[in-house]
């Protein structure tokens, strides 16, 4: 005959065991289902996607803004109208801010203040992925540093970790309206989700377009200003440019190995 004390011990232990085993069982069963899915044969694939941004094609803030608007409108990026809550995937940043520490007194003012288009660098060793406690941000096999908005708990450790300021947090509901009734998302793209308050977001290299064989929206909108290809393929166009021309990357000394190259003094033969 067991006494009350023993009964509680056994009951408690069994409950703990059940709670412990449940996630394992559910994971196995979801794996079985996953065998029914595969990649679209039209999808664009690579080992490590990268960009070369030809700075000769982007002379003013407007050139960048055109690309920025294209990206932000198809991805339902809200405009809160203030820098505190701001969310941005692509935006212009002056040379001295995009490459802090590299400017000096003797450079021309035009160059120091020249707008550079900045976005997520899709680093090969991303600090944001290293610090995320839930794998909500992770690196895909094709090099894209991706966000799983379903899983993000909004701790913002990735924003502390990213040395490029590429990440934005939804400080408030992006579906809301301001005091004057202006919706933060001017026109929703019904084909793409919005985000919810309390999650971090950033450029996802148009994973949804690559999956159906389309180039990223910024590449398409840039009229050849952004070249896009596989950094892992020695014969790709972007590898050829990086080999033969002068390109720079943001903060390469931090060891994150960014995949976005800026072509300086580019020209006609690109």
């Amino acid at each position: 005959m067991i006494d009350r004390r023993q009964f509680l011990k056994i009951a408690g232990f069994t409950t703990m065991l059940g709670i412990g085993v449940m996630p394992v069982v559910s994971r196995i069963s979801s794996r079985l289902e996953a065998s029914q899915v595969f990649t679209d044969p039209n999808a664009l694939t690579a080992k490590r996607w990268g960009f070369v941004v030809d700075m000769s094609k982007f002379r003013t803030d407007e050139d960048i803004k055109r690309v920025m608007d294209a990206c932000h409108s198809i991805h339902n990026v809200p405009d809160f109208g203030n820098p505190k809550d701001e969310i941005k995937w692509i935006w212009p940043e002056k040379f001295k801010h995009a490459f802090p520490g590299q400017e000096d007194h003797f450079m021309s003012k035009e160059f120091v203040d020249k707008p550079f288009m900045v976005f997520c660098n899709h680093c090969e060793s991303p600090a944001c992925v290293r610090v995320c406690p839930t794998k909500a941000t992770f690196k895909r096999k094709d090099g894209i540093v991706m966000m799983d908005m379903h899983r993000c708990i909004g701790c913002r450790f990735c924003m502390a970790g990213c040395p490029y300021g590429a990440r934005s947090f939804n400080w408030r509901d992006p579906r809301g309206k301001d005091e004057n009734g202006r919706p933060f998302i001017a026109k929703e793209n019904p084909e793409f989700p919005t985000r919810t308050k309390g999650v971090v977001e950033k450029c996802t290299l148009c994973y949804e377009r690559l999956a159906v064989g389309k180039k990223p929206a910024c590449v398409e909108e840039s009229n050849g200003g952004i070249l896009f290809g596989d950094l892992d393929d020695p014969n790709s166009e972007i590898r050829e440019i990086i080999r033969t021309r002068y390109t720079i990357r943001r903060k390469p000394d931090l060891g994150t190995k960014p995949s976005i190259y800026y072509l300086i003094g580019g020209g006609e033969n690109v």
Partner: protein, 134 residues
């Protein structure tokens, strides 16, 4: 036993409280849940294509697990194509596949979710099809 009266009174109060949902609903008509499985979009489809990616009973029981699998495959593995048990291919997308046919979220998703008192957070981000206010 000490305080027999208090203990029994306490137990009775406890019992009355936990059984409240049951006796408060006794005798009330419990409407059977009818989902609207027909939308203008579905009726436009040719007769043979007028079925979901999997059977009705499977979808009713398993759609949440299926959507979880779809989510992980698309977001985490970059795989977008689903092969159904009949061998047909579908684009895995809540907004662009499921809701293209089931354009009646209120009469389809919400009705049953409300009935079951579950609150999935799909629609915090995914955009529901435009419906007239009813």
């Amino acid at each position: 036993m000490y305080d027999t009266g208090k203990i029994i009174a306490g137990l009775l109060v406890f019992l009355a409280l936990v059984t409240f949902p049951f006796y408060s609903n006794i005798g009330k008509a419990n409407a059977k849940l009818e989902l609207k499985l027909d939308t203008p979009e579905i009726s436009k489809l040719p007769e043979v294509e007028r079925k979901c990616v999997e059977s009705k009973s499977y979808m009713r029981a398993e759609h949440m697990q299926m959507l979880n699998t779809w989510r992980d495959a698309v977001v985490r593995d970059g795989q977008k194509t689903f092969v159904s048990s009949t061998g047909k291919h579908y684009d895995m997308s809540l907004q662009n596949t499921c809701m293209k046919c089931h354009s009646n979220k209120k009469d389809f998703c919400d009705k049953c979710h409300n009935y079951m008192a579950v609150k999935p957070y799909c629609w915090d981000c995914h955009i529901a099809p435009k419906e007239s206010e009813t």
